[in-house]
């Protein structure tokens, strides 16, 4: 619980690492150790960033990517959790569906790119589809495993005190798997953010992935780095946001051991 404390040390140390890295990078470029044609200087990246920000394109790309991840991820959770619950509760359903779910989970979502373009063309839909394919199966598996692993004593206690049906689901089954579900949400949200970049490179006309691809085509390595930095920072922020879910008092038991 104490690892996230905001102390001066916890802020200054990582910040120091970034500053030192940028300084080293600057001098590596300045002394020609890194060839100017292959690696932009920090200053070039900064001006590239200012240029993109001024034109407003960077902001639009960020919004486009976040929107796709949001829709694909929410769809995957909304459909994956119920299916996972169903598989966790019924052994028959597990036997029937687990091999298929495992198959699709092992299949790289990027392998769907050609079909995504064939079916949905270019734009939001193919990216959303790919994110869905990346997030849906891991969520199903995590929920199914979590439900199947609920200690039997909780169900006995619930029975002793007359919990049935909907109440049993809302007050026992769901809260019992919450810690594991939240962990799986963090992982799959991370994967979704990876996938959207790849999807937009090939099947997009905007978004951060497209920004990367466009910078490459325009031979603008400075913009390439701008895109990479923005993608990385947003990925970290997304995870930090989802970590907040683990602060909910009724799920803390799953993490404080």
């Amino acid at each position: 619980m104490k690892k996230d404390q905001f102390t001066i040390k916890n802020v200054l140390l990582p910040l120091g690492v970034v500053v030192v890295a940028v300084i080293v990078w600057h001098f590596l470029c300045a002394f020609g150790i890194l060839p100017a044609i292959a690696v932009p200087t920090p200053l070039q990246v900064l001006t590239g960033f200012a240029e993109e920000a001024r034109r407003g394109r960077l902001f639009d790309d960020v919004i486009a990517s976040l929107f796709r991840v949001m829709i694909g991820f929410v769809l995957a959770v909304a459909l994956g959790l119920p299916l996972g619950l169903f598989m966790g509760l019924y052994a028959q359903a597990r036997v029937a569906l687990l091999p298929a779910v495992n198959f699709f989970r092992s299949l790289s979502p990027l392998a769907w790119i050609p079909f995504a373009i064939l079916w949905f063309g270019i734009g939001d839909t193919p990216a959303i589809f790919l994110i869905f394919m990346a997030a849906f199966f891991p969520i199903v598996l995590a929920a199914a495993a979590a439900v199947a692993g609920i200690p039997a004593v909780y169900f006995r206690v619930a029975r002793d005190y007359g919990f049935r049906g909907r109440e049993l689901m809302m007050q026992v089954t769901l809260p019992a798997i919450m810690p594991q579900v939240i962990t799986s949400l963090r992982v799959t949200a991370g994967v979704s953010w990876l996938v959207v970049v790849a999807a937009e490179m090939i099947a997009g006309r905007d978004g951060l992935g497209f920004l990367i691809w466009d910078a490459r085509n325009a031979l603008r390595p400075d913009l390439l780095v701008v895109g990479m930095i923005v993608i990385g920072i947003i990925g970290v922020v997304l995870d930090r946001l989802l970590v907040q879910l683990t602060r909910i008092p009724s799920v803390r038991w799953g993490y404080d051991k």
Binding site: V153, R156, A176, K257
Partner: protein, 263 residues
């Protein structure tokens, strides 16, 4: 006899080829505290499962009167609910929210955990958790407590405290108790009647009445004697040493007692 007694009549239970009970009969009167001891694997927990109707006998009948509540070894509290919410599970039958809250506060006071209502189980010590379990089992006017080695996960000192606590709670809120335990000392410390089961297929090997009122001293001669009787019955002590002899010199005795308290 009232209708709030427990009665097993000719109960047999087998799992496949394994016969756990064969023609077992047992009457437990209302308000009686019965402890069931026996070699491990003899079917003590199966007996509780039968009594609580979680499991059904292969043949024979079981009569139960009143509301039965099970107390589990550990981890019977729902970890995503606070201590208060866990206890309130037993008060769900009450239609009136104000009355539910009044009884909840009463139970919290009874177990000395007023102010811990909002704590989650993982924030409480093992002893506190078991007290919450007890409060939950007592709530909602239950009649019978079925306890499956309720204190076995606790350390020795806490276990002794919990026995006193249980004796006190039963004084305040009398209940019929069936305590399954492998801890013979615990049985002798608490129960009005101790039933010693044999190896599988389990049958009642002997019964022992202890009329000493609770709370009892663990070292009271009658308790010590009961422990001796059961151990002898299980073939773990010899009959010759019927009167345990304390032959320690006085100085050594005091050292002995101090070190025991520290442990």
């Amino acid at each position: 006899m009232t209708n709030k007694m427990l009665r097993l009549k000719g109960v047999s239970r087998s799992f496949g080829a394994v016969e756990v009970f064969q023609n077992l009969s047992l009457d437990i009167a209302q308000g009686e505290f019965v402890a069931i001891v026996g070699p491990s694997g003899c079917g003590k927990t199966t007996l509780l499962n039968l009594l609580s109707a979680y499991d059904q006998p292969s043949s024979g009948t079981i009569q139960r009167g009143g509301v039965l509540r099970m107390i589990y070894q550990e981890g019977g509290l729902l970890p995503w609910q606070t201590a208060g919410q866990n206890i309130a599970m037993s008060l769900r039958g009450l239609p009136n929210a104000a009355e539910r809250n009044r009884q909840l506060q009463e139970l919290l006071a009874l177990i000395g955990l007023k102010g811990f209502e909002g704590h989650y189980p993982h924030m409480l010590s093992g002893g506190m958790r078991q007290r919450v379990e007890l409060a939950r089992a007592l709530g909602g006017d239950s009649d019978v407590l079925l306890m499956d080695e309720p204190f076995s996960a606790l350390d020795y000192i806490t276990r002794l405290r919990m026995r006193q606590e249980l004796a006190r709670l039963l004084h305040e809120r009398p209940r019929t108790v069936v305590l399954v335990t492998h801890d013979i000392e615990e049985a002798a410390h608490l129960a009005d009647r101790i039933i010693v089961l044999s190896e599988r297929p389990a049958q009642i090997r002997c019964e022992l009445q202890i009329s000493l009122p609770r709370p009892r001293d663990l070292t009271h001669p009658e308790v010590v004697n009961a422990v001796h009787c059961i151990l002898t019955e299980l073939g773990l002590e010899s009959r010759e040493s019927a009167q345990p002899q304390m032959s320690y010199p006085i100085e050594r005795m005091s050292v002995f007692m101090e070190s025991e308290e520290q442990s």
